[in-house]
């Protein structure tokens, strides 16, 4: 079963908070996530992992009267943004939660775990088995 794990991070003072961290804190954070990605790779669970560009570049797009794109944004007032996501193919929901908890525990300033919320959603699939 496939799950999408979404990392929503606080935007802080205009950009990702991470942009204002001390270099060693930044490094520790990135290393933590790299180790997690390594674990998912070695377990044969990796489907896709993507990081997204900062919210300063985010646009909301709607179709206009003739279907033309009308863009809006960025949105300085938004408190949280999607920073990136994992898609993992795991044997049980519990394993998806376990991976999410590891992502959540990525260290922040001073090395303390951030314990940020990771949204976990099952990816929908094909037709159900005929029982």
């Amino acid at each position: 079963m496939k799950y999408m794990l979404m990392m929503h991070t606080p935007r802080g003072t205009g950009e990702w908070e991470i942009f204002s961290w001390a270099p060693e804190d930044f490094q520790a954070h990135v290393e933590h996530l790299n180790r997690l990605n390594q674990e998912i790779t070695e377990a044969g669970e990796w489907v896709e992992v993507q990081a997204l560009t900062p919210p300063a570049q985010a646009k909301l797009v709607r179709a206009g009267a003739n279907g033309e794109p009308i863009t809006d944004g960025p949105f300085p007032e938004a408190k949280e943004f999607l920073a990136g996501y994992w898609i993992v193919d795991v044997e049980t929901p519990d394993r998806a939660y376990e991976i999410a908890a590891k992502a959540s525990a990525a260290p922040g300033p001073g090395g303390a775990p951030l314990n940020m919320a990771i949204e976990v959603r099952q990816v929908m699939g094909g037709a159900p088995a005929e029982a």
Partner: protein, 421 residues
């Protein structure tokens, strides 16, 4: 034959020979993982050389010879390494110095393929690993093909396969037939993995099918192979029959856009008659053999459906009796759920709903969308559209299948429109 046709028939031949050669090499060498690597190399060499040079007179002997050559090459470099380190294992070398020529007859032990299946479906492996290894090693599919079938990157599938081989290596599972005491359990594990592969193919009919290996056909092919190896096992017969009888309905089961068509609305003229005939013959052959198992019973149920001229004319009493038998030997709440549906067909929706209440109270299907979906259907039949709507929507919210969600939402929308709710 065209060049393309020649390549296709070589691919076909290689897939058939792969497990036989691997079985023979692994039996001789003992190390399954090393044997598998060597046979893969031999298969790649054959796929490259045979289309140009022609298929050798003894293709199996050729593959066996090349695989053993590769193994001795690896062993030779291993020897050189040990020599540098001051340890020499001459007895190992003596055993391997002789590689039979490419045209030598290879002793094919039919049990080798069976041993391979037992190994690939070993309970020490995770389900995903067992599925991948079975398709690769016994099915002869490439890693890329298996990856596409499961919509994961090739590197991920390669990792699963190599982890599976590593698990087999580290857990010291010998390449050999399981003991008599173990055998029944191990065969059950093999049947379970084959059934999972079948269902994976059967359920993922939506999506870019053309580039995908048909997993249902692959499962049927492997189960046929198993049936050839164990012609008298009634559960192997049962599983093969179940697959054929289920697969017979495949074309009628989904609409042009992949939408789900339930059994009562399927165009039965689109069911595959020859698969039904074969499945019915198999299940009829299996049932009198005594030991009635779960796959035989499920196949018997599928046979009753497949032989009915219409949904209304289905022999629901027989289906109910079969589910009641099945419930006695299975502790799956899904069987009880199906039994409740059959009871509703025989005795009316109120009886079915009563059984659902009992199942609900047990709590084993808590949060399962199928319980809500069945309840919604029975409530609709009983005329309680308000509660039916509620359960259709809950079921739609809980299913992880897109076509099923769409079916449930549409059903709810139609009911709401018809009743003005």
């Amino acid at each position: 034959m065209t060049a393309e046709g020649r390549t296709k028939s070589i691919e076909h031949l290689l897939r058939e020979l792969a497990p036989q050669v691997l079985g023979a090499v692994a039996r001789r060498h003992g190390d399954f993982a090393a044997a598998e690597d060597a046979v893969q190399e031999a298969l790649i060499a054959a796929a490259q050389q045979w289309p140009e040079a022609g298929v050798p007179a003894n293709p199996r002997g050729w593959l066996y010879h090349v695989a053993l050559r590769r193994l001795t090459d690896h062993l030779r470099s291993e020897m050189a390494r040990r020599q540098r380190e001051g340890t020499v294992a001459t007895e190992l070398w003596a055993q391997w110095a002789f590689v039979p020529p490419a045209d030598a007859e290879v002793g094919i032990d039919r049990d080798d393929t069976l041993v391979l299946l037992f190994m690939c479906c070993h309970p020490a492996l995770t389900t995903a690993s067992a599925v991948a290894l079975t398709l690769r090693v016994v099915g002869g599919l490439t890693t890329a093909e298996i990856a596409r079938a499961f919509f994961v990157p090739e590197a991920t599938m390669a990792q699963r396969i190599s982890r599976a081989k590593q698990t087999i290596r580290t857990s010291g599972i010998p390449f050999g037939m399981p003991s008599d005491e173990e055998r029944a359990d191990r065969l059950r594990a093999v049947l379970h993995i084959l059934y999972l592969i079948f269902n994976e193919g059967y359920t993922s009919s939506a999506g870019p099918e053309l580039q995908r290996v048909d997993l249902s056909n692959e499962a049927i092919r492997l189960t046929r192979l198993l049936h050839e190896l164990l012609p008298n096992d009634p559960e192997v017969l049962g599983l093969l029959a179940l697959m054929l009888l289920t697969d017979a309905r495949r074309a009628a089961r989904t609409g042009p856009d992949g939408e789900l068509i339930p059994l009562d609305e399927q165009d039965r003229t689109r069911w595959n008659r020859s698969l039904i005939e074969e499945g019915v013959a198999l299940v009829s052959a299996a049932l009198p053999r005594g030991a009635v198992g779960q796959y035989q019973l499920q196949a018997a149920i599928a046979a009753v459906h497949d032989e009915s001229p219409s949904f209304e004319d289905t022999d629901w009493r027989q289906i109910l009796a079969l589910y009641t038998l099945l419930e006695r030997m299975s502790d799956s709440p899904m069987v009880s759920l199906n039994q409740a549906i059959a009871a509703a067909m025989v005795y009316g929706p109120a009886v079915g709903l009563e059984r659902l209440d009992a199942l609900d109270a047990e709590g084993r299907l808590a949060g399962n969308h199928r319980l809500d979906a069945v309840r919604a259907h029975l409530l609709e039949r009983a005329g309680d559209s308000e509660r039916a709507l509620l359960h259709y929507r809950t079921a739609a919210e809980r299913t992880a299948s897109t076509p099923e969600r769409n079916y449930l939402l549409l059903r709810a929308a139609r009911l709401a429109a018809a009743t003005g709710k």
